[in-house]
Symmetry: C2
Subunit: 316 residues, 2 copies
Amino acid sequence: MLALVMHEAPRLVTDYPVPSRAPGEALIKVLCAGICDTDLQLARGYMGFRGVLGHEFVGEVVEADDPRWVGKRVVSDINAGCGECADCTQGDGHHCASRSVLGISHRDGCLAEWLVMPEPCLVEVPAGVDDARAVFAEPLAAALHVLDSIPAGEREVIVLGDGKLGLLTALALRGEGLTVTLVGHHARKLAIAQRAGATVALSVDGLARAPVVVEATGCAQGLAEALRLTQPRGTVIVKTTVADPLVVDLAPVVIDELKIVGSRCGDIARALRALSCGAVDPLSVVDARYPLDQADQALACAGAKGTLKVLVEVPR
Amino acid sequence: MLALVMHEAPRLVTDYPVPSRAPGEALIKVLCAGICDTDLQLARGYMGFRGVLGHEFVGEVVEADDPRWVGKRVVSDINAGCGECADCTQGDGHHCASRSVLGISHRDGCLAEWLVMPEPCLVEVPAGVDDARAVFAEPLAAALHVLDSIPAGEREVIVLGDGKLGLLTALALRGEGLTVTLVGHHARKLAIAQRAGATVALSVDGLARAPVVVEATGCAQGLAEALRLTQPRGTVIVKTTVADPLVVDLAPVVIDELKIVGSRCGDIARALRALSCGAVDPLSVVDARYPLDQADQALACAGAKGTLKVLVEVPR
């Protein structure tokens, strides 16, 4: 099959084997996939990933143990846990020590014609949510997961970074009615958040400190700025995953009793609800669409400075 | 009066002016003071502090606006807030932007014969708590404040660092009945925690990850070790204040969704209750006692590698 495969460098191949379905897994035909900054990092060698890239998709189930899945349009939690440990049985399995993660760790991803995922990871997409919106379920879930780290009662958030995730986080928090200030470097991107009711700024200069700051700059330096912008006893929610180590001055964290909280994947079903009711419309974030047989060009486009979301479509 | 004063270096002087009491403040005769690692840092130039060192004390009120204070034996919250901002009126004033802090910021400290503090900061010491224990109210409050950052339901804590604060934190958490593992480099200090029921270890090798880790090593490198020892979605509580910037690998914080929480001063009244009921007996942490006219030697002793708490006594 066609697939964008990371080996020593990312490469589009036509003869990648169609994945074979293990018991409990569904075979899914990919309809549309999205490219995320994590894919770009993995394509540069981050975490030593080998295999098919991509973890944002909407697809159609072709085969499954449970016949009710067949023919359904689905999105998926990207974490495939063991199903047996405490994290899987009592939690969401996102921290299962032996999990695989679609297109990120020990599992081929979705920039291909087909993929397999365990059936418990799947969520059916409502008819009213089209493919180009449904493909945002995974990154929107990650954006909405910020809400799980915002202390009860806080309604005012600064988001640092107007890249894909920062922008989507601003839209997600606006969809929940929070007061959002998005700080970025691109007037075109900030305008998207502004249309959704966010206050925007091209610089942190003159901004008042906020009780909650989301760090989504994608740069190691972003945290230092986030810490400076956070009120005493406030919370910095960190979304940036970069390979670079980070230099932080610890003293203000202790003196101001700040909280720094790492935030990764969210609840896919919650994201679908936000898409379905129109609380968040992510289409304004799409910059380009490519067919799967140009997925290598799609990756290059996504990696160009300033590009927002690039989608990869698979002909039905 | 006699006072240990930081100017370019710390110096014992005999002619420091007795502090004059502002409205709302109490004039207090110091009975006993303790030396903390923060004092040692300030004496090396940290934060550019100038004035009388010291912030751990028990004393007797000599003059106050409210005559009921006079003659009372007291300890004090070290943060003197403005009394008018939201943090002072709705919170504890520990983060009031215009606060002064006893012996740390814009306020002369307690390594002297006399000091002044606002009356609302004072807490009366119960008769059953002697001076050598009462002087621990401030550091024990800081140690017990760790409890405020432990998520509900968690009972298992690793404490990194067997210095004064790490050891006191281990004793404080044991006093609350938590399961504590103290990791340090000194068998003599670890034995103190062991007698209080803590598990102790000379190295992190082979330790299972815990849901809560307290970083009290006093070294910038301690946080990296604390992060490695924390379970996914767990909490690292940071007590170390050092001037050195710190290099952290951010990726595990995001991937494991860790929380890093700075923790500073606690509730002095809570500490007095723990001392009064015997839940914590800090006397085992005292390594030396000096009279005030040898406070410079006391500081040198406290700064020698391996020394635990040094007390400075003022003759009555």
